[in-house]
């Protein structure tokens, strides 16, 4: 029967299988024909800076209102805020605004710089579309009232009206709202109000979610969509940027022609890209980087160009406080002595040493950041603060009603440094007789566990660094607690049901801060002291360490990165949302020079 075979069937098989290979190739053919229309440039590293560690998903959105999903650079490179805040020097820097001040407790007047231009993206020729005026500022503020989905919708409760005459804007308030307004000034970018090139004619759904793929913006760079793909977002410097002419800022301008921020898949891939020189700035936690920095110095090995902000521990600036977050609505976490036992059982310095190889600092018991040191009530810390002590932990545990239940500590699977920290904490807790277990569910599951209040302990951090600890306590004490805590506030569920009247008291104090003028320093400090005391007495959160403002630089292509040892004012080295455009990173980039 085999004798009937005439041709080698291998040949037939090869033809058919090859055919199945052609199909996908045709598929790329069609994609390619769509893409070849765009001008193609392979960006030279001599004129381009590459960064990573910011975006965890591909760049698809340049709408600053789509907080958390916009591409790196949307705030900072494209859209800008009225002021910047430098956490290193604790100073505000006038940015789009020339000046601004409270003329009464409910009235704020600010003047814009002249000559700020709205400029289109590279695909549209970086054309000047118009000038920024007070009307744009008013438009931005009033969105809080007209768009209930906007991220600063809380301003709607404070602001009664805003008017502009030329470049001067007057904002009137229903009641004093020092903190809400302060954070708007340096955190929320000004949007173009024009109906022709701006967002003036956008409906609410567009304002909140539109991709804004051809952004008309005021900032130092313009979107270069031809070089943007699912792996990176690229920008080209904006020759029409206002900053270069401002002497008081030191005439900042960029020496590079392009900036690309690449999508970050995981810290090991990023370390590879960083060590091979593919990226110049990494804003991700890179395990082992301290060892590589030190390996670099003697004999000038391959890694000789690597540096961080500090040359020695903690190497990094601090970015936010990481808490061990108890679920106060569940036993045994609802018991204060149990929380005290846990707080005393955790060996923070071991986490700093082993998990982070000294890249971070252990936290102060209040959790206030090093840059907010002046706000810490040292007397309260001395009286109520906790520190690592197995004996104290065991004693407190005896006083608690702990009955040997198993408690879980969770963080999302894949958040490697936090997972390692949890493993260490679990061991610490077991060491004093608490049955603890690590739990690493998916990000979604972990998030719903926290929002629905079904978790035991979680590792969590406060939103971000800010000029003063108002945000920190807002995050901790905000009331009311809802069934599903969808906003990232009061996740530990500190309310009347769990701790009694003190919850209402704490929240009232936080609201007091908003109503107390920024200039009333003593009154404000008194409120901070009270809040810190409540925090230390009730332990709604257990601060463990400060997450680093991860930044490692390579000088193989670009030099003059921010260093604690350099002369003059230093600026933040972090491209994260909330930092690049708000915390002076953009000024640090203006200092870069070609190696």
């Amino acid at each position: 029967m085999f004798a009937r075979k005439k041709k080698g069937f291998l040949g037939v098989a090869a033809v058919v299988l090859a055919g199945s290979l052609v199909v996908p190739l045709l598929a790329i053919g069609t994609t390619a024909s769509a893409t070849t229309v765009r001008p193609h440039v392979t960006l030279s590293h001599a004129n381009t800076v590459f960064s990573s560690g910011v975006m965890y998903s591909p760049p698809t959105v340049w709408n600053p209102n789509a907080q958390g999903s916009f591409a790196t650079g949307t705030e900072g490179f494209l859209y800008e805020t009225l002021f910047l805040y430098n956490p290193i020097t604790n100073k505000y820097i006038p940015w789009l605004a020339n000046s601004g001040k409270w003329t009464s407790t409910t009235k704020y007047v600010l003047t814009l710089r002249g000559g700020i231009k709205w400029v289109s993206d590279v695909a549209n020729g970086q054309a000047v579309k118009g000038f920024m005026t007070g009307a744009d500022v008013v438009f931005t503020i009033m969105l809080a009232k007209t768009d209930p989905g906007i991220y600063y919708s809380n301003l709607a409760n404070d602001v009664s009206g805003a008017t502009a005459v030329g470049n001067t804007v007057t904002v009137t308030f229903k009641h004093p709202a020092a903190e809400d307004w302060q954070s708007f000034l340096y955190q929320d970018p000004i949007l173009p109000s024009s109906s022709v090139y701006g967002m003036g004619d956008w409906n609410n759904a567009e304002l909140n979610t539109d991709a804004n793929a051809a952004p008309v913006a005021s900032g130092p760079m313009s979107l270069d969509s031809a070089n943007t793909n699912s792996e990176e977002v690229c920008y080209t410097t904006n020759p029409n940027w206002w900053g270069a002419n401002v002497k008081s800022l030191g005439n900042p301008s960029f020496k590079f022609g392009h900036w690309c921020d690449t999508v970050n898949s995981s810290n090991n891939v990023e370390l590879t890209d960083f060590l091979t020189g593919a990226i110049d700035l990494s804003n991700n936690f890179l395990p082992g980087i301290a060892a590589l920095i030190h390996a670099a110095s003697p004999g000038g090995s391959t890694y000789g160009n690597i540096s961080t902000y500090y040359p020695r521990p903690p190497y990094m600036l601090s970015a936010n406080t990481v808490w061990l977050e108890p679920n106060l609505s569940k036993k045994p976490m609802s018991n204060l002595y149990f929380r005290k036992a846990v707080a005393a059982a955790v060996n923070e310095s071991q986490i700093v040493n082993v998990d982070y190889t000294n890249l971070v600092d252990a936290s102060n018991p209040t959790g206030l950041m090093p840059s907010q040191k002046s706000y810490i009530d040292t007397a309260a810390v001395k009286q109520y603060g906790f520190s690592f002590s197995k004996a104290t932990a065991k004693a407190d545990l005896k006083k608690s009603n702990y009955k040997g239940q198993t408690v879980t500590i969770e963080c999302p699977a894949g958040w490697t440094d936090w997972m390692a920290a949890i493993n260490l904490i679990v061991k610490d807790l077991k060491g004093v007789g608490i049955k603890a277990e690590a739990l690493f569910p998916s990000y979604a599951t972990r998030t719903s566990d926290i929002e629905d209040g079904t978790y035991d302990f979680a590792i969590d951090n406060n939103a971000s660094i800010a000029a003063d600890p108002y945000n920190y306590f807002y995050r901790m004490f905000r009331l009311p607690v809802q069934k599903v805590q969808s906003a990232q506030d009061n996740w530990e569920r500190f309310d009347a049901a769990t701790v009694g009247g003190v919850a209402g008291k704490a929240w009232a104090l936080v609201k007091d801060l908003n109503a107390t003028a920024m200039t009333a320093k003593t009154a404000r400090q008194a409120i901070f002291n009270k809040l810190e005391t409540i925090e230390l007495q009730y332990l709604p959160e257990i601060p463990v360490w400060y997450n680093g403002a991860w930044a490692q630089y390579s000088a193989s292509h670009w030099k003059h990165w921010p260093h604690s040892t350099a002369k003059g004012d230093q600026y933040t080295p972090v491209m994260w949302a909330g930092w690049l455009g708000q915390m002076t990173t953009v000024l640090a980039l203006a200092q870069l020079a070609h190696s």
């Binding site: 029967m1 085999f2 075979k5 080698g8 069937f9 291998l10 098989a13 090869a14 058919v16 299988l17 090859a18 055919g19 199945s20 290979l21 996908p24 598929a27 790329i28 994609t31 893409t35 070849t36 765009r38 193609h40 440039v41 392979t42 030279s44 381009t48 590459f50 965890y56 998903s57 591909p58 698809t60 959105v61 907080q67 958390g68 209930p148 989905g149 991220y151 919708s153 809380n154 909140n208 979610t209 539109d210 991709a211 070089n227 793909n229 699912s230 792996e231 690449t262 891939v269 590879t272 890209d273 593919a278 990226i279 699977a413 894949g414 990000y443 719903s448 939103a463 969808s486 990232q488």
Partner: protein, 330 residues
């Protein structure tokens, strides 16, 4: 013949229906709000969060009754409208997959084909000589037991991290745009070598073992003995044995597809290679149910199509079927 294909196709359709239903059902029947993670991205104040939740619930169609969502899902599949990715929001899932499929196919198809032919040849060689049998066979067993991700890590470590010969991650360098230019093609090939090698190598072992065993079996069969008695040259006998052995190997190819999918996914993860496998993995870790559904759908379609292609090849190559077809027609 027709009956055979009808039966085959109906099984494939049934499989497709089951797979799509599972694909649709798992994320929806699991407890929890599918939009929770996505909404968290907007960092909205509590009231604004409620507003956005309502808006997106409607926009993503979660407000419809389940049976309607199910029908819409099928309707979407037929129009290749797989919804909008949350991870790539607001890019449609179909577009996202379209951008990545080339990288997966460009790795997987050459690796499978090369491994198939080279592996079969190796197996045939092993069956020929004792020396080769004693070296190729044990090696093949070891290769069959090697986890894809481990071999990929070995290549990435030695050829990448240690000796810096080839890039150990990404499908092309930063700063290049994926368009048809020589620069890009060169860059792409440079990044393609390591993942290709690691897939190709692990896939080899099984074919070699299978072919070696099949040929030995064929050589023991009556016709081989008969041929030998008739004084046919050994080469000829072997060639017949090889041809007969390729057939079952082809069926084996269909059955191995599932494991190749697994190998592809972990290999893409190790090399951070921007194919559908990495996309699938990202979709799962980022709870992007639409992207996850789309990627899984694509995997299913790929496996089914490949099965079908192999069925056709099988019928085409198998002399007996050819005869029966001709007989049926004549």
């Amino acid at each position: 013949m027709r009956r055979y294909f009808l039966k085959k196709i109906s099984i494939y359709l049934l499989t497709f229906w089951v797979a799509v239903t599972i694909d649709w059902g798992i994320p929806r029947l699991m407890p929890g709000n599918p939009l929770q993670v996505f909404l968290l991205k907007f960092r909205a104040q509590p009231d604004a969060a409620k507003y956005l939740q309502a808006y997106f619930y409607k926009a993503f169609g979660f407000n419809e009754p389940l049976w309607k969502q199910y029908l819409y899902y099928w309707d979407g599949i037929f129009h290749w409208n797989l919804g909008v990715s949350m991870f790539y929001y607001p890019t449609p899932v179909a577009t996202v997959i379209g951008q990545h499929i080339f990288y997966t196919m460009g790795l997987l198809v050459p690796a499978i084909i090369c491994a198939y032919f080279v592996g079969n040849r190796l197996g045939a060689m092993a069956a020929r000589r004792k020396v080769l049998d004693n070296s190729i066979l044990p090696a093949s067993y070891l290769i069959s037991g090697t986890p894809y991700q481990w071999f990929a890590m070995l290549l990435a470590f030695f050829l990448g991290a240690l000796w810096h010969l080839l890039p150990e991650s990404n499908a092309f360098a930063f700063g290049t745009t994926p368009v048809w230019t020589w620069t890009f093609i060169g860059n792409f090939l440079e990044h393609w070598i390591l993942p290709f090698l690691s897939l190709f190598f692990i896939m080899l072992g099984g074919w070699a073992i299978g072919m070696r065993n099949l040929i030995i079996y064929e050589l023991e069969s009556d016709y081989a003995h008969w041929l030998q008695m008739l004084g046919s040259p050994a080469r000829l006998v072997r060639r017949y044995a090889y041809r007969n052995a390729v057939l079952p190997q082809l069926t084996g190819l269909a059955l191995a597809l599932g494991t190749f999918v697994a190998g592809q996914i972990v290999t893409e993860i190790v090399f951070n290679y921007q194919g559908v496998g990495l996309l699938f993995f990202n979709a799962i870790t980022n709870s992007d149910i639409f992207l996850m559904q789309g990627a899984f759908l694509l995997v299913i379609i790929g496996v089914l199509v490949a099965n079908f292609v192999i069925d056709i090849v099988y019928v085409l190559v198998d002399p007996r079927t050819r005869v029966s077809m001709m007989g049926a027609e004549g």
